[in-house]
């Protein structure tokens, strides 16, 4: 007698519409409001983060089992007699763990592990019997990932910040150099004028 166990497990895990908000940092200040002036300040922050994870896994578990009973016969007994049947049993168990990791906006593809080899049963004895069918189990265990953080919705800059050194010592030194150059230049000019005049 043959028993065929085919376990097909399909699970679809969907995560959608997960949103995250980021603390707004915009602010505005209204000042110098004169008579009859109209002032308005509008700050709008929109943050959207959508995470969709669609994971599918398939596990196929096949167990072939066979248990054949022995034969029993009674014959030629004068006072009768009896033949009692034995029993033939099979058993097996299969546990398959599937782990799916959902991370951010990226679907992490996880290959399900190969089905575990079933534990074979044993049959025999005399008389009729039937094998016990096998049992398959699939236990998906999704592991939570992490939601994505949305970028602030601001005007796209066209320049990186200008972080050049602006030390006061440098500026002062530059001004002093310019002043010195002006003094030297004026003295040359005065000297040249005096020579021409004389």
């Amino acid at each position: 007698m043959k028993k065929l166990l085919l376990g097909l497990a399909i699970a679809t895990l969907s995560l959608s519409g997960t949103s995250a908000s980021v603390g707004a940092t915009d602010s505005c200040t209204i000042s110098n409001t004169g008579p009859d002036s109209t002032n308005s300040c509008v700050v709008k922050e929109d943050f959207t983060c959508k995470v969709e994870n669609d994971n599918k896994f398939t596990v196929i578990n096949k167990n072939n089992q066979e248990a054949t009973s022995g034969s029993a016969a009674v014959s030629g007994n004068t006072t009768g007699g009896s033949a009692t049947s034995g029993s033939a049993t099979n058993s097996n168990g299969t546990v398959i763990d599937v782990t799916i990791t959902n991370s951010g906006c990226v679907v992490a593809a996880v290959t399900p592990p190969a089905p575990v080899t079933p534990v074979g049963g044993s049959g025999g004895g005399s008389g009729g019997g039937q094998p016990v069918s096998g049992m398959g189990a699939a236990q998906p265990r999704p592991v939570g990932g992490m939601g994505a953080v949305a970028a602030p919705q601001k005007a796209a800059p066209t320049m990186l910040p200008d972080t050049s050194a602006t030390s006061t010592i440098g500026i002062t030194a530059g001004l002093v150099a310019l002043l010195a150059a002006a003094i030297v230049g004026s003295r040359f000019a005065v000297g040249a004028y005096s020579n021409i005049k004389s």
Partner: protein, 193 residues
Amino acid sequence: MSKSTDSKAQFYGLVGLLNIAVGVMFYTINITPTPVLANSAPHIQSTVIKPAPATQGLPVRVVIPSLSLDLPVAVGTYNTDDGSWTVDNTKAYYADVSMPINNANGTTLIYGHAQATIFETLPQIQPQADVIVYTDNGYAFHYTYTTVQEVAPTDVSVFTSNGPPKLVLQTCVGAYSERRALYSFRLVAIDAL
């Protein structure tokens, strides 16, 4: 009915009863074993766990122990009219168009002048150097230095990179501060203060 006929009827009745008794006896002896059938249906369990929310915050302080740097961080904004950014000589700034400090994705840009009190010593940083950024909501994000890249002031791709969580510190380099040096740091740990 004659007497012999009655005797025959009694005899066949007894034989019939005997046959029934023998049949019951053999039936009792030859019991077919009852097969034991286990549960053959595959057992499926599934659980859906939603992604955990990311930890994030706005940077308020940056510390680089190996350079003895400990600076406050303010929010720096971009002026679309003249293309300038908020910057001064007293602190570092977080570019508010970049990602907030977080452990999920994207690049956070903190910038500061290349002068002694701010980021002048950044070029001296060594590989694997630690940087700690404290956030306004009580977290300390620990980063480690990975690479430096010099780019033109017009290269704003740092604002659109959306890979693993990363910190970039920016200051100016070059004889005339004409280029921007971007120091990249990889997130390694978070502490809740």
